[in-house]
């Protein structure tokens, strides 16, 4: 069931230095977030039907007022908290326990490799993978749900099946694969880290099969529909129905519309594409780098349609 969600960028700062950081956290030496504005945003949206607050950054867990924020969200009566995190802080059992106690029900945890070589070289955090895995185990032990998020890069694309197997083995409920959004830190690494969709499909499809066979929910985020035609039923586009976001002091009323309108473009094949509205198009930075030869319109009405319903394999 899609839920109405309030989304908060709590901090610009992070304890990782991911090559592909979409908000460019490694480029910040000072936090630009005014905490009082976060508090005000949470306060003014309380009792407006939001079913979850999604906290992200940067790395929300390193914010000095992180626990205060969780307490405040709880006191305001929001039913759920979702936390996007690299889970490094959660490797301490006590920290993980406290976070779950304060109401975080879903952890969306970055998992970009299955070995330290693959993960830590991309996150710039030696020892990070092991702590992330400990963090996953700790929150699972507390009964929380875990969704991993794997951003697909040239550095991890061949490892996607192994990363998926690792996620299955540590008990992850939901495995999400994100199409690299080549902005923020990735701007400086475009050619080096951006795979083509042909490269992605070769390893992504077996990875999806591994997750599905293990009974885990698996989704794809930010992919042009025609780039993953055979897995068109896995798009993560209906989990939240209404996302209101506070991002660096700016309120984005409808995050999905924002992404479609300002972060994606339609290329010529999109003109008469049957799934244009659902898909939203492609990242212009990708088109600048690789052109648009890989994209082609979905057939319009009357032609056989791909299955676009949400995946049925779900563990929550």
């Amino acid at each position: 069931m899609p839920i109405k969600c309030l989304s908060v960028h709590l901090t610009d700062l992070c304890n990782s230095k991911c090559t592909f950081c979409v908000v460019g956290s490694p480029l910040y030496t000072k936090d630009t977030i005014v905490y009082e504005r976060v508090v005000q945003f949470l306060h003014e949206n309380a009792n407006n039907g939001y079913e979850a607050v999604n906290l992200h950054g940067g790395e929300a867990t390193i914010h000095p007022r992180f626990f205060d924020t969780l307490e405040y969200i709880r006191d305001l009566g929001y039913p759920e908290v979702h936390l996007q995190t690299n889970a490094i802080a959660l490797s301490k059992p006590e920290f993980a326990r406290r976070v779950v106690e304060l109401g975080v029900t879903l952890f969306i945890i970055s998992l970009h490799g299955h070995t330290p070589e693959v993960q830590d070289s991309q996150t710039g955090t030696p020892g990070g993978l092991m702590r992330t895995l400990d963090g996953i185990r700790n929150v699972k032990q507390q009964g929380a749900r875990v969704r991993t998020n794997t951003v697909i890069t040239r550095q991890n694309v061949t490892s996607l099946p192994a990363i998926t197997q690792l996620a299955v083995d540590v008990g992850v409920d939901h495995i999400n694969f994100s199409n690299l959004h080549p902005v923020g830190s990735a701007t400086f690494a475009l050619e080096r880290i951006t795979p083509t969709f042909a490269e992605v499909r070769e390893y992504l499809y077996p990875a999806i099969d591994i997750a599905a066979a293990a009974g885990r929910r698996v989704t794809l985020e930010g992919f042009p529909y025609c780039a993953v035609v055979e897995k068109a039923g896995f798009h993560l586009n209906n989990e939240y129905r209404d996302i209101r976001m506070l991002m660096r002091g700016v309120v984005i009323e409808d995050y999905d519309a924002f992404m479609s309108d300002t972060c994606r473009v339609f290329v010529p094949p999109c003109g008469d594409c049957a799934v244009r509205d659902l898909c939203g198009g492609v990242y212009p930075e990708y088109v600048q780098l690789r052109g648009w030869d890989e994209f082609s319109a979905f057939p319009t009405a009357g032609s056989p349609q791909p299955a676009l319903a949400g995946p049925t394999l779900t563990s929550h």
């Binding site: 230095k17 090559t19 710039g124």
Partner: protein, 399 residues
């Protein structure tokens, strides 16, 4: 340049708005300035557009940013730019090239020249920005040396690692703009536009296996054959991102002596090497006659493929002889190393010295600091504009 002046005016509490050709609109992205686009189909109606803008906004002054560009634009639309003198509003020209020194005939491709309409003496006042004019206090001379780029070590490390540089690699930056790819559909200019990056990449390839070329520009060049994974292309960046990359580099290599990036690098203590070409040659023999030594096989082959060669200081447009007077005895040229494109030995020696020898680097950085000191003694454009508008006699005498 116009945007920098507008930003300074904005910071001083003034308002600025632009009447700007549609091609240049992207330059105003993320700026707070009102903009009215000029489309080519407007033709002489541009006069009406400007008249209505002046009637609506009632500005305290009109700034031509710059004299050369505005003159070419108006004449291209079929309008004599002197119509601007009819308004009661004071007219100020940014005289980027210091036309009283450089003149009005610009050398371009081969032996072709282009004449710029000369009406500058009819203007009541002009700003002469350093760089590129000499930083010597004279009426109208102002500093436009940018603020230095300073980035934190953590950011520098992240940017370099993301580009694909290890901690021991050295990075040479090269920047291009759209106009440098195909020059006015001119065959010779386009040939040089295409081939110069290849020669520069060849020079970089000789600097050592740990020296990388970081190219920022609208499109990549096919340089992987020469440099392999030591060639990194970054598409056009936002101003902040551009500064982060510039501030992470060990050397800036430029083929345009007037580029604002050179000035930013000078202000930021980043060594700059500018290549220019003084060789006008239609044959291999003519080209080789000007060399101090016989060319290497690569350079010889490159010359053969790139003929005819024509001189430039603004690659690939030319501007070689045109700029000579303003560069003469100009301390800006001491803040950079200026080398001849075909002098392989010198290009490699100078670049290698700046990358490998702390003494060579230190010498150049001292010259940059001295230049920055000279420009710091000059007034800013805003200070000059304000004194002009308040009727300062000395300013008026600059015309």
């Amino acid at each position: 340049m116009g945007i920098r002046v507008a930003q300074q005016l904005h910071e001083a509490g003034d308002e600025a708005s632009f009447v700007v050709h549609e091609r240049s609109l992207p330059l105003l992205t993320d700026t707070p300035f009102r903009r009215v686009p000029i489309h080519d189909h407007l033709g002489p109606l541009i006069k009406l557009l400007i008249e209505s803008q002046i009637a609506e906004e009632k500005p305290d002054s009109i700034i031509l940013a710059d004299y050369f560009t505005a003159t070419v634009l108006f004449l291209g639309l079929g309008v004599d730019p002197r119509f601007l003198l009819r308004f009661d509003t004071p007219l100020i020209a940014i005289d980027t090239w210091s036309h009283s020194e450089t003149g009005f005939v610009i050398d371009g491709y081969g032996d072709r020249t282009r004449e710029v309409a000369n009406w500058i003496d009819e203007l009541p006042f002009r700003l002469r920005p350093a760089p590129i004019v000499r930083p010597v206090p004279r009426p109208g001379v102002c500093t436009i040396l940018p603020d230095p780029v300073r980035i934190a070590r953590r950011v520098r490390n992240h940017v370099r690692a993301n580009i694909g540089l290890t901690s021991s690699d050295r990075a040479v930056m090269f920047c291009t703009a759209q106009w440098q790819y195909a020059a006015n559909n001119d065959e010779e200019a386009t040939l040089l536009a295409e081939n110069v990056p290849e020669l520069l990449a060849y020079y970089v390839s000789k600097l050592g296996n740990d020296v990388h070329l970081v190219h920022v520009g609208p499109a990549a060049y096919p340089l992987s054959g020469l440099l392999g994974e030591r060639y990194h292309w970054l598409p056009a960046l936002s101003p902040d991102q551009f500064d982060m990359v510039l501030g992470s580099m060990d050397l800036l290599l430029s083929a345009n002596i007037s580029a604002t990036t050179n000035a930013k690098a000078v202000a930021s203590s980043i060594p700059v090497v500018v290549v220019e070409n003084s060789c006008l040659a239609g044959t291999v023999e003519e080209a080789e006659a000007g060399l101090r030594e016989p060319p290497s096989p690569f350079l010889g082959e490159w010359i053969r493929r790139s003929l005819p060669l024509y001189p430039f200081r603004l690659w690939p447009l030319g501007f070689h002889d045109f700029l000579q007077p303003v560069l003469q005895d100009n301390s800006y040229c001491t803040a950079m190393e200026v080398v001849e494109l075909l002098d392989e030995d010198r290009v490699v020696t100078v670049c290698g010295g700046l990358l490998n020898s702390s003494a060579a680097r230190e010498d150049l950085l001292q010259c940059q600091a001295a230049y920055a000191g000279e420009t710091a003694r000059l007034p800013t454009p805003v200070e000059i504009i304000e004194s002009f508008l308040s009727g300062d006699a000395e300013c008026r005498s600059s015309a």
